[in-house]
Symmetry: C2
Subunit: 282 residues, 2 copies
């Protein structure tokens, strides 16, 4: 497994592997890899000839009062996980190279990024789209893999890749959960045992939503209110939002649709958690 910090080294490695119809797969990460990330690496490995993982804690996607400083950095373990998953090349750039002095170019979306997470984390998605644009340009992937856990993010990346003609296929992999339902996240390690217990209300609220969609006749709005009630009933949870919205636009739904997505974001102590589930309506 090759480990490179310089874009130029990645570029030449990619170029020598590209010819003859060999497919390049990209898995962009911020490190602190868990089994959810490994599922992305596995998917890339099974579908592509040359698999690139990137590990970069991107300062541009953190707000000024967010957890950039304390975000877990576990490079050695991450490289072991990449190696075990059969990754061909890991790109671990320096921040000073990714954002050189004088850099002023931004990739942004004018609609999808204003909703939900975008409202609660201003500037977050500009950081995501800009860094992913750079990673697309450096690695020139045929496919790029993202987790459904960051539902809005994968939607935005899809839109961006299509709008700006990267010709990359975006693959969204299912959420990986602990046995008790908690969606895997690098931020779960911030949780105290008591907070860890409270965090289960997210997946419980999503299960409730799925049950109501399947069995009842409640409207999307009414289902969202039931999720909000469940979450608000847990002391020490501060909800940012709990909604049931259109899978593609994230807009509110008037009638009961065939499919929708339930999305939740909360703060538990100093930790912010998100989760989601596609709902299928009866």
């Amino acid at each position: 497994m090759q480990v490179e910090a310089l874009p130029s080294a990645v570029r030449s490695a990619v170029q020598s592997h590209r010819c003859g119809g060999r497919r390049t797969g990209l898995v962009p990460t911020m490190g602190a890899l868990h089994v959810g990330h490994v599922s992305l690496l596995d998917a890339a490995r099974s579908e592509c000839d040359f698999v690139i993982a990137t590990i970069f804690v991107n300062p541009m996607q953190f707000g000024p009062h967010e957890d950039f400083e304390r975000y877990p950095r576990t490079l050695e373990q991450d490289l072991q996980r990449c190696e075990a998953a059969g990754v061909d090349l890991v790109f671990t750039p320096e921040t000073s190279r990714m954002y050189a002095p004088g850099a002023e170019s931004i990739v942004s979306l004018t609609g999808l990024t204003r909703k939900l997470e975008g409202r609660h984390r201003p500037g977050h998605f500009d950081g995501v789209t800009t860094v992913v644009a750079k990673l697309f340009n450096i690695t020139v992937p045929d496919r790029a893999y993202f987790g459904q856990k960051d539902y809005q993010q994968q939607l935005i990346i899809r839109r961006m890749a299509s709008d700006l003609d990267w010709g990359v296929e975006i693959v969204t992999c299912p959420i990986v959960r602990e046995d008790d339902g908690l969606a895997l996240s690098s931020r779960n390690r911030y949780l105290s045992p008591a907070e860890r217990e409270k965090s289960l209300s997210l997946s419980r609220a999503l299960s409730l939503a799925q049950d109501l969609a399947q069995s009842g006749s409640e409207s999307p709005d009414s289902i969202a209110r039931r999720m909000q009630q469940l979450i608000s009933g847990v002391e020490g949870i501060d909800p940012d939002y709990a909604v049931v919205v259109d899978c593609d636009t994230l807009d509110p739904l008037v009638d009961r649709p065939k499919r929708a997505v339930a999305l939740i974001a909360v703060r538990i102590g100093k930790t912010r958690l998100i989760d989601n589930q596609i709902l299928r309506f009866r």
Copy 2:
């Protein structure tokens, strides 16, 4: 010479030519090709193995009261010029494909685009950077060729290509002028004979600036004022700006530098003209 309207067709043509170290050169144009454009095609032809010209009158870079509707469209002649220049592939996309319904992604710069042309044509450079980003992604060039005539544009494209890691080398080709000094522009054909005569004041003002930089001891500001006086003295010319600024940042200069760029933009009747010259100071 291959002519393609679909990004997918361009992509596969490029891919089959890329292997084995063959270099792809891109010359993005809005058509209405003149000898200035041909000099870009010639440069690409002499330096690259596979030359792509694009012809697309990009609505996103025109303001609401600008000349998008009446911008000259001369596709047949343009294709002949491309063929004569030895172009391998011409990409002539439809507007509806370049800006599909729902597209909302923008590439923008936060500094360089706010100055000079950016101030006088709000949104113009967002249109330029977004469409060039798309063209880079569709054609994946090793080199891309721009004219110095649009000085600020080539500076912005350089910044963008570097910031977002396209790995493309930006080549800026010299301004091509008529015998009497007028810089070639697709918009020159808008000029009446009387306006054509007045338009010579741009290149005259730039020559004056070069003389003053070489022979005198005047400051950049003082030289700019002399250019402004010369232009303002011509009836029927409405100057947008005439400045002498830093070649890289376009910022004002306090002392006499070694090099600077003199930039002029004016309106003559309904036509807007720009011109520039690198000044070398004694």
